[in-house]
């Protein structure tokens, strides 16, 4: 399909990319393009310019600190996360990335793109919320870090402001994590999803039931406590062709229990 006319730049440094993004309200960052290019085909979004982040070395790579903290560059692909020895510090990250779409999409799609899209059906927003990840955002004025709980603001909206970039995702060391989803076909788009992390307490993040991940902290990892926490959240998810609101609410409860069971096993 022919896209609307668009400008393109491939900066070689982070500073240059931020300068280009700040110079034009209509400019958007291009990461792996596995969502953005289709959005442009559908004319659901029509940026005036694309700032391709592919040439910026600073946005790549996975580092594992001595204390078990993982630092993941925003342009790291799903395939790189699946293959990474460092990322095995929190094996759930590779396990979930291996479930996203298909080989081709995993080879191009990036963790930063998945998070910045903030699509409620994406896998990584609830996962990063459950893992207690922190996002590093850089703009002309410098760098700031926000917790996952403050990063997602709405459907397609995040704390990354115009002229800023998500540069790095920091995942603390953890003990047990889980993820469960009901998808459209095997490894397709999520109809409902739940991520859980157990470390002393338990944190659950539910996907597809609200504009942003719904984070819950049940009293314990017992099935009953998890179910009760989901019920008390009074979820009111949207209905669509794939699932009614009631069915999604039911799935949220079931998937939360499955995710917690995986996390504590």
């Amino acid at each position: 399909m022919l896209l609307r006319e668009v400008g393109y730049a491939r900066p070689g440094s982070l500073g240059e990319a931020i300068e280009l993004l700040a110079a034009d309200d209509g400019a958007r960052a291009l990461a792996g393009g596995q969502t953005l290019i289709n959005v442009m085909k559908a004319r659901a979004g029509s940026p005036d310019a694309l700032v391709d982040l592919a040439g910026i070395e600073e946005l790549r790579g996975i580092e594992l600190g001595a204390d078990g903290t993982l630092e993941i560059g925003a342009m790291t692909t799903y395939t790189e996360l699946v293959a990474s020895g460092e990322a095995r510090a929190r094996p759930i990250i590779g396990e979930v990335c291996a479930q996203i779409a298909d080989v081709q999409v995993r080879n191009r799609g990036t963790i930063g793109g998945n998070l910045c899209t903030s699509d409620p059906t994406n896998h990584l927003p609830p996962l990063m919320a459950a893992l207690g990840a922190r996002m590093t955002i850089q703009g002309a004025g410098g760098e700031r870090t926000v917790p996952a709980s403050e990063f997602f603001l709405g459907v397609y909206m995040t704390a990354v402001a115009p002229g800023e970039l998500l540069t790095k995702i920091t995942v603390p060391a953890g003990r047990g994590d889980g993820f469960a989803a009901v998808t459209l076909g095997v490894e397709g788009t999520c109809i409902a999803s739940a991520a859980a992390s157990v470390d002393g307490g338990v944190t659950i993040a539910l996907g597809c039931v609200d504009a942003i991940p719904v984070v819950l902290q049940p009293a314990s990892t017992d099935d009953d406590a998890v179910r009760e926490a989901v019920r008390e959240a009074n979820l009111d998810p949207p209905s669509d062709v794939h699932a009614s609101s009631e069915y999604r609410t039911h799935l949220a409860e079931v998937l939360a229990v499955r995710a917690v069971n995986q996390a504590r096993s």
């Binding site: 399909m1 022919l2 896209l3 609307r4 006319e5 668009v6 400008g7 393109y8 730049a9 491939r10 900066p11 070689g12 240059e16 300068e19 280009l20 034009d24 400019a27 291009l30 393009g33 596995q34 290019i37 289709n38 085909k41 310019a49 694309l50 700032v51 391709d52 592919a54 395939t79 779409a101 298909d102 080989v103 081709q104 999409v105 080879n107 191009r108 095997v186 490894e187």
Partner: protein, 157 residues
């Protein structure tokens, strides 16, 4: 300092031949390959990133060329279905597709072949599950998956 431009001069090596062309930034890689270079082996099925008929290997990595801009491929080495055979001699995988009748209408075949080529290069003896995972991003609407699977398996033995 890099600047924003609506078109760029790119250099791409496809199946061993280097092409230098001026392309619009909005041009998808699949259109560059098919329309600008007249290499029509790679197909456009859905144009939405679902069907995988446009799959090609870019710098060793399998991608859907309808979800990549030609300008993003500047400097890349690309392999398409045209590069699989050696003259008249089919690759082992292509021969296995022929032997196992792994195509009916043939529309998905270029993408299937590239996905299976990428798989066998990385993992010459995949399990049945690995074969199925490897062609997950490729849709065959003749629903001839079983023969495709059998061909990939035969080529891996």
């Amino acid at each position: 300092m890099s600047t924003v431009t609506n078109s760029r001069s790119i250099s791409v090596t496809i199946n061993g031949t280097t092409y230098e062309r001026e392309v619009e930034a909005r041009k998808l890689l699949i259109h560059f390959i098919r329309d600008d270079l007249d290499q029509t082996g790679s197909h456009i099925g859905c144009d939405t990133g679902n069907c995988g008929a446009c799959s090609v290997i870019v710098d060793g990595s399998l991608v859907k060329s309808c979800m990549m801009l030609a300008v993003q491929a500047d400097g890349a080495t690309i392999e398409t279905v045209e590069g699989l055979a050696d003259g008249e001699e089919l690759s082992k995988l292509q021969q296995a597709f022929k032997d196992h009748h792994a195509l009916q209408c043939g529309y998905c075949t270029p993408g299937m072949l590239m996905s299976a080529t990428a798989l066998l290069r990385e993992n010459p003896h995949p399990s049945e599950h690995e074969i199925k995972k490897a062609i997950q991003g490729n849709i065959c609407r003749c629903t001839g998956y079983w023969n495709i699977f059998a061909a990939v398996k035969a080529a891996s033995e």
